[in-house]
Amino acid sequence: MLRKKEWIAMLLAGGQGSRLYALTQNLAKPAVPFGGKYRIIDFPLSNCINSGIDTVGVLTQYQPMVLNEYLGNGQPWDLDRNDGGVFVLPPYQKSSGSDWYTGTANAIYQNINFIERYDPSYVLILSGDHIYKMDYEKMLAYHKEKGADCTIAVLQVPLEEASRFGIMNAYPDGTIYEFEEKPPEPKSNLASMGIYIFTWEKMRKYLIADANDPNSQKDFGKNILPAMLNDNQKMVAYPFEGYWKDVGTIDSLWEANMDLLDPKVPLDLYDDSWKIYSRTPVMPPHYVSNEAEIQNSMITEGCTIDGKVDFSVLFYGVVVEEGAIVRDSIVMPGSVIKKGAVVEYSIIAENSVIGEGAKVGQRPEDAEDRDQWGIAVVGNNVKVGKGAVVPPKAMLDHDVQGVE
């Protein structure tokens, strides 16, 4: 009954994201807030709808409820469709038994039925922890033009950093002849971005073969791609230019937010022709009092600013009281920085309270031991008491008593 779709996207929302520990205690990594109004998943989802993809499966088994409620009917991303839309796909019991997802390839394999409902010619595989804007339609055109079985988006990285990535070695026409996972001596600087387009018929075959292979780790990068390359399937590298950042660690998440304050960074959120959509509660415009000072920062609806905000990103509904200082930091939705508190080089997660006169984080230049310095993180719903001190690099997931 359903019309055939040219392509659909499957988004690997991944597991707990343990490197973001305090931020992902109760939610999947793609639901982590980013950039004042967004959550990480808004970027691939908005890219999908802007690229003309109207069906997206989101694969997750870790705390899917927050994602489920965030995505809801898909309306904020215009993915509220009669035929298609956005679906959260957790593992389920079948009459033949039940399984948690055991790898990225296995997660797709377990949802072959979902994919086949739409009878797509191509399937786009995305992951849920990258910040970037990309027209996948151009990548699909490239895939078709090259007659590829699999197209992998690649980014040119500085050669000296290439050993941190999965590197694609390709002929000048784009055809890949070799992968190297974090090679000590990289032969090229084309790093995989974890974005693949597969011709579905081929992909289906390799997914089934992989599922039957007891030695496979059921992983795209480790199993599916090498198997295809081995079989001389046509695999090509699609060069991407522009801003792309993996936000899987505290440092990279902090950096990516700070990048928004840097006019030289090529991630334009103001471009009306490629909007990033999100679901946010409706709040009045933010209020800035006569006592406030704000410089080089982003401030969002529902905030009330009486203190000083400098080089920081404040999400919706944040309160900065009189005399408080927020500097080089990220304050996520609904958190309150009380009078006289100082927040520096920190990430304050949602609905937390930094008590009067408390100190969270520190500038690197003020740190006694630079090796022990790092971004301080205060988790969701955490209360830092009056006058308490949260040192740099802390990962706070519980309340801290005040100091009288």
Partner: protein, 376 residues
């Protein structure tokens, strides 16, 4: 099937003439307000937050901007399969002239819409009042008091609160709360009960009154429906105690914005459990540059602030240039204020371009209005 169900009717354009230039290309209901809202958002949200989910908006003309704003009603959760939001266009049921002389006549055009609903009560409202009212309490009082009509009012002191220009005022029996008199007064003074043009009435009674009015060529809600009922039916007043202001003209429009800068007004207008919904525009957070200075202002998302802003309301997507100074202004959506420009007491409508180094200075009682799309 739902007991004591209430449906809503909103007049979108009863005050178009009073608002002058603001309603040249839009209805009263779609006049921008408060940085990101339109006037009707307050009435719509009050109804929705009070469990009224079948709402008809009566329009006359100029309603394209209103339709753009409300769409299918999604932001208010009124995009329903059953009920939800309905736009009732002028040609709906009667002659086809598309004009009406008063609210009662306008209701005649909505009669079939009203008749087909299974509600027991109808809440009828204008769209020119800025207030956050829990209408459930009004419905409760209406039912408990066995009233046939209940009128929402606020006790004000004419003079400081309102200028007393042509207000509909009510006299109430202090003991029973019955309305003893309701009439328009051009020059009232002192403490008065101002009718906020929100009426709750039983649906069958309303239908009968509309039919009567059509037979007798009557058209005015107050004159032909409420006034004759006073004394003959149980007409009660429901007092609203919170912040409420009517947008009557450009001056009260300006004053209402200045009220928004008071924290106690914002607390009353935007409580967390009764949000004011509006159309989502997916704007980015406000970007403050290195040289920005802001005091006592409300700034909506999507703005870029590089200059100085004081005692002002800046709507979505406006840009304030470097070393520009904006003081006591209302700067609407997508207005661009150039570098070094200097604005005081200015109301700039949408999409205005103020070039670099321009100076415009009005006075509190005479703010300068710049029309939509103009370049200065």
């Amino acid at each position: 099937m739902r007991e004591n169900k209430v449906m809503g009717i909103i007049f979108s354009d009863m005050h178009d003439s009073a608002l002058g230039a603001l309603t040249e290309n839009r209805t009263t209901a779609s006049v921008p307000f408060g940085g990101r809202y339109r006037l009707i958002d307050f009435t719509l949200s009050n109804m929705v937050n009070s469990d009224i989910s079948d709402i008809g908006i009566i329009t006359k003309s100029n309603y394209q901007s209103l339709m753009d704003h409300v769409g299918a009603g999604r932001p208010w959760d009124l995009a329903r399969k059953r009920g939800g939001l309905a736009i009732i266009p002028p040609f709906a049921s009667h002659g086809g002239l598309g004009i009406y002389r008063g609210r009662l006549e306008a209701l005649a055009g909505a009669l079939s819409y009203i008749r087909h609903n299974d509600a027991k009560y109808v809440m009828i409202s204008d769209s020119d009042v800025i207030a956050n009212v829990d209408l459930r309490d009004m419905v409760k009082q209406h039912i408990a008091s066995n009233a046939q009509m209940t009128l929402l009012y606020k006790t004000i002191t004419v003079g400081p609160d309102l200028k007393g220009e042509d207000l509909t005022l009510m006299t109430l029996d202090e003991e029973t709360g019955d309305v003893k008199d309701i009439a328009r007064y051009a020059s009232a003074k002192g403490q008065q009960n101002l009718y906020l043009n929100v009426l709750l009435i039983e649906k069958t009674l309303l239908e009968r009154m509309i039919n009567d009015a059509m037979s007798h060529d009557q058209y005015s809600m107050v004159r032909h429906c409420i006034q004759p009922a006073v004394g003959r039916m149980t007409v009660k007043g429901y007092a609203f105690e919170g912040y409420a202001t009517k947008i009557e003209n450009m001056n009260s429009y300006f004053a209402a914005h200045m009220d928004l800068l008071k924290p106690e007004v914002r607390t009353e207008l935007f409580p967390k459990d009764r949000p004011v919904f509006t159309k989502v525009r997916d704007q980015v957070s406000v970007r403050y540059g290195l040289s920005s200075k802001v005091g006592n202002s409300l700034i909506a998302d999507g703005c870029i602030i590089n200059g100085e802003v004081y005692n002002s309301i800046i709507f979505r997507g406006a840009k304030i240039g470097k070393d520009a100074v904006v003081r006591n202004c209302i700067i609407m959506q997508n207005t661009y204020v150039g570098d070094n420009a200097h604005l005081e007491y200015v109301i700039s409508d949408k999409d205005v371009l103020i070039k670099d180094s321009r100076t415009l200075v009005g006075y509190e009682t005479h703010p300068i209005y710049i029309s939509k799309g103009d370049t200065i």
